[in-house]
């Protein structure tokens, strides 16, 4: 989230929280990075496209972890179906190619993660809630590639369109994706590099305090109060000294690109309806 000259256009007068979240996620990607997306990932896909259209034209997108640099077009109804990667430069075979590239450690170093539960140390859970693993209260979809990405030295960017105390919890019921585990240097001691970088919700942006690895409030969105954030969070985030800044609004140009070019059919709103 370094300051970026391409974003220095006036803030939008008319914006919504999905657009703000997309703008924040877009700012996480730098020119020359590579990134893929998974299932039901409308906000990350929009963010990657926004980054490419603004400050990171040489960001490489592996659509659905399959199609290399498809021709730009409106986001379709699925982020894991063929229309997403139409006219790609390459179909990346998954077994030998995609996971080899992802394991390598030099490429695809940033990954956006949606998680049903996320705890104060950035551990994520998409597996089970409550009960026993083999007879849980709630069976979630499963960890899929996430359990890999969390342990392979990637920088993880969590997004959550529905910030509430059931999704942001003191301790996850099950670690399906390694964050900072118990905090401090526990991750490091297991030989893991990388880790969670940022959490972008519909209320705020959080990062991680460098030593303790406790989640830390970085900014609160415009029109949201600190109290609202704390009430909606299942633990106490570290507060930055000297008050919590307000998340910058998306610029007018960013909002225009999202609405007119990237997602004219409003697929991104599905993420908010879903929960």
């Amino acid at each position: 989230m370094a300051p970026d000259p391409h974003l220095d256009s006036p803030p939008a007068g008319d914006w919504t929280v999905d657009e703000l979240m997309i703008a924040v996620l877009a700012s996480c990607f730098e020119d020359g990075d590579q990134a893929c997306n998974g299932m039901a990932s409308f906000l990350p896909v929009a963010a990657l496209q926004l980054a490419k259209l603004t400050h990171a034209p040489d960001l490489v997108w592996l659509a659905g972890a399959v199609g290399l640099e498809p021709r730009p077009g409106p986001i379709p109804a699925s982020t894991l179906e063929a229309p997403l990667w139409r006219d790609a430069l390459m179909y990346v075979e998954q077994y030998g190619d995609f996971w080899t590239l992802a394991l390598n450690g030099r490429w695809l170093q940033k990954f956006c993660v949606g998680a049903a539960q996320l705890d104060r140390f950035g551990n994520a859970n998409n597996s089970v809630i409550g009960g026993d693993f083999h007879a849980p209260k709630v069976r979630l979809p499963g960890t899929a590639g996430l359990a890999d990405m969390g342990s392979l030295g990637k920088q993880l960017y969590y997004w959550n369109p529905n910030h509430n105390p059931r999704s942001l919890v003191e301790t996850v019921d099950f670690v399906s994706c390694a964050g900072y585990l118990g905090g401090g240097d526990e991750r490091e001691r297991l030989g893991l590099t990388g880790g969670p970088e940022l959490v972008v919700t519909n209320l705020c942006v959080m990062d991680f305090e460098p030593d303790s690895k406790h989640m830390r409030l970085r900014s609160v969105h415009p029109d949201v109060t600190l109290e609202q954030v704390l009430d909606a969070t299942g633990y106490e985030p570290v507060l930055p000294p000297g008050g919590v800044p307000v998340t910058p609004k998306p610029t007018a140009e960013q909002v225009r690109l999202i609405r007119e070019v990237i997602d004219p059919h409003g697929m991104r709103h599905r993420e908010f309806r879903r929960r």
Binding site: A77, S78, L80, T143, G150
Partner: protein
Amino acid sequence: MRVKQTTLAEAASLVSDGDTVALQNMATQAAPMAMVRELIRQGRRELGLVCLVGGIALDWLAAAGCMNRFIGNAVSMEQFGLAQHYRRGVESGRIRMEELSETALLARLGAGARNLPFLPTRGMIGTDLIDINENLTMLDDPFGGPPVVACRALVPDVALIHCHRADRHGNVQYEPTALWPDIGIMPKAARRVIVTTEQIVDSDVLRVNPDRTVLPGFVVDAVVEVPWGAHPTSFNPLYGYDAALHLAWAAAARSDDDVAAFLDSYVYGPADHDAYLTAVGGVERMAALARWETG
């Protein structure tokens, strides 16, 4: 080369109660649905399913009481929500899930295919997935490097695959499209392989594009021609997923009566695959899906 062409019913007889069945599938994509319906109709029981990402196929198998275990990465119909019957099966303890990361599932199947006792990954380290799984264990690098997660070989009894074209010897060809791992590795790991195909062609047709052949016939035990055989999942580039049928299932899944009616209409009822295609909308509907009018 030997002839492997047969019927859905004959091919399904290669699957026995209790078998571990590797199923090509990816949320809303490319599942050999005609073969799945045949297994349900034939009343298979206590199947274990292996998928990368299980979709509607898994939910039908769960609703019909055909399965009691799953090995894979995730189960989801993506935009059509969770697979509710699968989910309730796990929550009630009727279905046991071995949850693996993608590299771990590929390592287990890769080891099975290569007759190696295990393959390693560096994924999952630090998660809770390792300790609860007897098929995973931490292993020191014998050269003094970082430890790995050893993933025990998995050899499914049978793999079910759907493809664009095949010859009657079981040589399997795909149109250029996303090649998911289930195509590349499951059929080599499994003891038996059943292929359904949009079209059976003369072998000489395959010779035009030998780079598109992904499986040699000698690994295949049965090949069956089933046009639209992945419906209601998509089969790129030929046709899109059937959103209407997915939504109808998601709605029906809430009540036992509706589930029974749904399965009667679309699985148990139709006498054969043609009757199924008529039941889901026939030629007109298929033509729309071929234009990717999926909604």
